[in-house]
């Protein structure tokens, strides 16, 4: 079973790598937010898998649970800030 868990961790990390490219190239701020949000949800699963690998699932699942909440609230906070700037007509993208 540890082999299967480790394989899943590697596969998911590969996905994170692919997503990091989207975070870097954008092109828009919101594209980056989408990618970061998906990386965040993958982190939840990574935490759970690593917890089982380390033999302390209960402890790691607590962290995963809190991380799920923080990830969601963080995304919503960024979007509120973003929409506020759009509504006030302030620039939201950095100058190229």
């Amino acid at each position: 079973m540890p082999v299967a868990l480790a394989a899943a961790v590697v596969v998911i990390l590969l996905g994170v790598l692919v997503l990091l490219r989207r975070v870097i190239v954008g092109p828009r701020l919101l594209d980056r937010v989408v990618a970061v949000n998906v990386i965040g949800t993958k982190t939840i699963i990574l935490l759970a898998l690593v917890g089982y690998l380390a033999g302390r699932p209960g402890f790691f699942l607590d962290i995963a649970l809190s991380y799920a909440l923080i990830n969601f609230v963080g995304t919503i906070a960024v979007l509120r800030y973003y929409e506020g700037r759009v509504r006030r007509g302030e620039p939201v993208e950095e100058e190229a």
């Binding site: 596969v11 998911i12 919101l30 949000n37 699963i45 089982y52 699942l61 995304t75 620039p91």
Partner: protein, 112 residues
């Protein structure tokens, strides 16, 4: 390996592959909205499968409660975050990409 462990390994493997497919979707789809489709859908089932696999490995009641809660949160949060992102894109005037030209439903000029 017991039958339950084989089921767990299969679910974890399939789930992690689905999550990888989601990542590729976000990387290769042509515009913001189509990437949202990949982000909002691919992950929900992939994660639920991995966590269901972990559930098959057993443990005490608190582990079961925590895993079920995480799946529940993902099912609530993922579509909500997707919708919030789509709305933010819409109000800031990101015009949806269509095959060959402008979309007649596009709202206004890009604000950014």
């Amino acid at each position: 390996m017991s039958v339950l462990e084989i089921v767990a390994a299969a679910a974890i493997g399939l789930g992690s592959l689905l999550m990888l497919a989601t990542a590729f979707g976000v990387a290769v789809f042509p515009d913001f909205y189509t990437r949202l489709h990949a982000a909002g859908k691919g992950d929900t089932l992939g994660q639920a499968l991995v966590l269901a696999g972990l559930l098959c490995l057993g443990g005490d009641l608190t582990l079961v409660v925590k895993l079920v809660l995480i799946v529940f949160f993902i099912f609530i949060f993922n579509p909500t975050a997707t919708h919030a992102l789509a709305r933010a894109g819409w109000v800031s005037g990101i015009v949806p990409w269509v095959r060959g030209g402008q979309d007649p439903g596009a709202p206004r000029e890009p604000g950014a």
